[in-house]
Symmetry: C2
Subunit: 320 residues, 2 copies
């Protein structure tokens, strides 16, 4: 198997690459080549009997995608992208990377005339309020951000290019990936990870929204699991509807904090400071709450079943 | 009011232009300028006290759309497009005209930094089987053609560009427009019009599908009415969900034929010859049947209420 990962230097990308290096195989077949692409240099890994390469370039450049696709990867994990806050702040950048970059990649595949498995990281940001209590798999997408719009367009292209036989795509709509390791970032969703990560690192965390807010999370480990499952799944089993809501743990912020207390104790939890922020709240208010994700579960996509587990994954992977 | 119509030489475009010329106004305001654009020359019309112009060019050319938008039309009817069958047969052409052309137009508007009303003719082809008996307004779009995919992407861009304040868009999802005047064409949907039009013109018509097939239709006159309503509607009344399922008459093919018989007699109906065609049937089988179109009706979009009326519109407009 020849594998390409775009966005390989990103948070999920790194963890995917580590898992691929550990497994040495995808879908039961050994990895013969692993190409890592990002606009910044990804860390090179080594896999026994496999050629691994790092490429630095812009995914929204035809020459770059042509070069990447000319190496004929059997599985392409397309993770490169500009995140939600940045796509909203910088209109041109978001459309260029998330829409044009994705389309260029898909077109290069189409013109290369072979039929690789393409796993595309979409997002629950394709959905917009108002929502039912539990969001069914066939809920209609009405994005309320440019990022969500760009992901929806990527999904539509993926479906059509798959239907026409140019590629064999699977779009996975990731819930919020929590706990995001590393430094706090400015994403409106940042606090969902921050209220767990900062206290576990002995630092104060700000909680800008009411404890009653409900949201769905999966760990970075689960995100990687979804990607690996998507790489190996039989396309016929999925059928023509190629974009799937991923499972996750739907909890209130209060329940997140209770889980943290169970895992790490009340001293840790006391580092969370409530500081209601109307600006954050007005954004988060429009975010999806719980997902049914029935098709994905039936197709073997698995997430944690409690937020305690999500906290423990962070402790194991980042603090051990 | 300055008005731009793209696709002005097309079937709906011509009828829209005739109506604009007749009304001399849009949304209660007199027309000061009417720009007609198409890749073939549209017929020039004259309107008292208005400057009317015909432009020939490719909507998927940045220079063309910049020029059109630099004239700062207050209302833009964006009808230019490649139809379903052609977009399926010619992948590049469909994406270039229906996706790139629409995006270029929207981007020219964004960069011109004013906020015109943009009325975009989307299609029920954004939906894909399986369908419930009556398709609700919030049914999820899963197109099964490249044309439907391109329309869905146009809708997503329209919503996002409207949300960001670059334009004030309304997307109207037209049902099949029937009776389409003129020569038979090769569209899989052609027979829906053909079985009415050909007999009314003394010619034999082929019916390739069972009489039990259900489909939703509106006359070209209603299509123009939708466009005019969309041009004048208060955007705040529509809210953030800017793409609306239009109303129409949901009937079986058998009921279409009964209506024809009531309007034109049994001699006319005897010109319909049943010749089942598995290829056509396999396409039409996946098409939407009936629509609720509740939001559109509440917002004042009106269609015929019986297929008899649809037949009569054709007789009045084309055979009088
Ligand atoms: N983390 C989440 O909660 C979440 C949720 C839903 C979807 N996603 C999606 O999953 C994917 C990975 O997410 P992540 O959390 O690892 O994000 P990330 O920001 O950590 O990684 C994205 C990577 O893409 C790279 N990139 C940006 N512009 C590029 C360009 N022009 N060319 C090449 N590479 C470019 C960045 O350098 C970065 O390494 C993204 O597509 C993201 O939209 C993530
Ligand atoms: N007629 C229907 O049943 C129906 C149903 C749903 C949606 N629609 C949509 O409504 C619109 C009008 O439909 P119609 O039935 O009048 O179609 P039509 O084919 O009669 O008209 C489309 C017009 O677009 C023009 N065009 C094509 N490529 C162009 C380009 N590159 N640059 C500029 N102009 C170009 C064509 O010359 C044509 O005059 C289309 O967008 C169509 O997709 C129609």
């Amino acid at each position: 198997m020849r594998i390409l990962v775009t966005g390989a230097a990103g948070m999920i990308g790194r963890k995917l690459v580590a898992r691929l290096a550990r497994d040495g195989e995808v879908a039961g077949k050994p990895i013969a080549a692993l190409d890592l692409h990002d606009i910044v240099a990804a860390d090179l890994v080594s896999i026994a009997d496999a050629e691994t390469s790092v490429f630095v370039g812009d995914i929204a450049s035809p020459d770059t995608v042509d070069m990447l696709v000319s190496r004929r990867p059997d599985v392409i994990f397309h993770l490169a992208g500009v995140v939600s806050g940045e796509a909203e702040a910088n209109f041109d950048l978001g459309y260029r990377v998330n829409l044009d970059g994705t389309r260029m990649l898909f077109d290069a595949i189409r013109l290369a005339d072979y039929r690789p498995r393409v796993v595309f990281t979409s997002s629950i940001a394709v959905f917009g309020a108002p929502f039912p209590d539990v969001i069914p798999d066939d809920f209609h997408p009405t994005p309320m951000t440019s990022y969500g719009t760009q992901k929806l367009i990527g999904e539509a292209l993926l479906s059509d290019y798959t239907r026409r036989g140019f590629m064999d795509g699977i779009g996975i709509r990731l819930p919020t990936i929590c706990v995001r390791p590393g430094k706090p970032n400015k994403a409106a969703s940042g606090f969902f990870s921050g209220i767990i990560r900062e206290p576990l690192n002995g630092q104060e965390a700000i909680l800008p929204v009411p404890r009653s807010v409900v949201h769905t999370h999966a760990s970075p480990r689960s995100a990687v699991g979804f990607l690996i499952r998507a790489a190996g799944i039989d396309g016929d089993l999925v059928g023509p509807r190629r974009n799937l809501n991923m499972p996750g743990v739907g909890v209130t912020v209060g329940e997140q904090i209770e889980a943290l207390e169970r895992v790490a104790g009340s001293n840790v939890v006391s580092l969370i400071r409530e500081a209601p922020d109307e600006a954050v709240w007005s954004i988060v208010r429009n975010w999806p709450t719980r997902f049914e994700a029935r098709r994905a579960r039936e197709l073997g996509f698995e997430a944690e079943t409690s937020f305690d587990e999500i906290v423990k994954v962070y402790v194991e992977e980042e603090l051990a």
